[in-house]
Assembly symmetry: C2
Homo-oligomer: 226 residues x 2
Amino acid sequence: MDKRIKVLEVKATILAENNEKAIELRDELNTKRVSYMNLMSSPGSGKTTFLCALLNLLKDKIKIGVMEADIDAVVDAETIEKVTGCKAIQLHTGGACHLDADMSRDGLNAINSDNLDLVILENVGNLICPAEFDTGAQINVMILSITEGDDKPLKYPLMFKESDVVVFSKIDALPVFDFNIDLAKSHIKKLNGKALVFPVSAKTGEGMDAIAEYILNRVKEIKTNK
Amino acid sequence: MDKRIKVLEVKATILAENNEKAIELRDELNTKRVSYMNLMSSPGSGKTTFLCALLNLLKDKIKIGVMEADIDAVVDAETIEKVTGCKAIQLHTGGACHLDADMSRDGLNAINSDNLDLVILENVGNLICPAEFDTGAQINVMILSITEGDDKPLKYPLMFKESDVVVFSKIDALPVFDFNIDLAKSHIKKLNGKALVFPVSAKTGEGMDAIAEYILNRVKEIKTNK
């Protein structure tokens, strides 16, 4: 059991160091009036598809860059650039299951964030570790695909606690899945009374205007330092 | 950058120690002729539903116990016992995103595995970390829900490399999702030429007999020490 305690202690130190760096990065971004949004979810919840639909609604209004974090592969950055024309870079985590504040800072430098209004990070597909590591983002958004089940807040509580916004994706598939929107919302409310919920279908466009408007308002608030 | 290297070194040591313990545990299980199956997937891919359907096909033929690993909650163990009547225990990982060999050993002792033919571990919903930590299981099965997309092997290659079997779940929903079974199979084949693929729907029962027969044969092989 000793080693497990040692592992937990090492992890606690890593998390504490990361938290400090994340707070520093967020302060800098606020001063520069650049918005940084961290998009998290399980693998395959539709992050990239959602992002393409969102970018197409926002790209003529504000200057946006996208950082795609993945263990491997470059498919997502290519897709984003092809479908939306927005600048996208790929960050490889070298096997790590999340992005931390240091990696965020490297990415923000690489994408030249000072010239942008909003940088969106598509985090590694994972409901656990990304919730533990503050990236320095001011806006934390998670996606729960309705195909994953309405019980997910019970199983991955930290992710739901850390998110400002929960997007229910793939709602066009609701007729073939047992997903109770009201039940999921009530699970979320118990964990995080402030979280906003946006049910969307990136495929049909349903609900996309509302989330785009929310993001735009947050970016404006950060721009005017409210 | 120093700290990141330190983190990677700590992780390498942890992984090496875990590997040794996993090999030891697997040897012991082989000697005792007890089968241990590790079931992995993303959150919400349908592990518990798949498991209930599988258990109902196997429970009259062999003695089975189930270990449900979760960060929190006890819903899965309760569901398994209610739906299948099989003995199920809940393992809480205390925030950890995977199960390791030590936690497996604790669980196998708690469920009294010496009196069983097969113990199935439902690992934490995560496509990354569980692939890195050998649990000591002889049979590694992963589920890819067709709602997650056919590109997942490109993004989470280690999970597909480490699995003996890939189950494509929720195939009853194929008509409403763009999932190309042949493309997904060809991605998997490039990573792991030996992996067997079983497309199933736990909802309609399609494909469940084939995977149940495969598991039964593996358990018989371990029983007869082939």
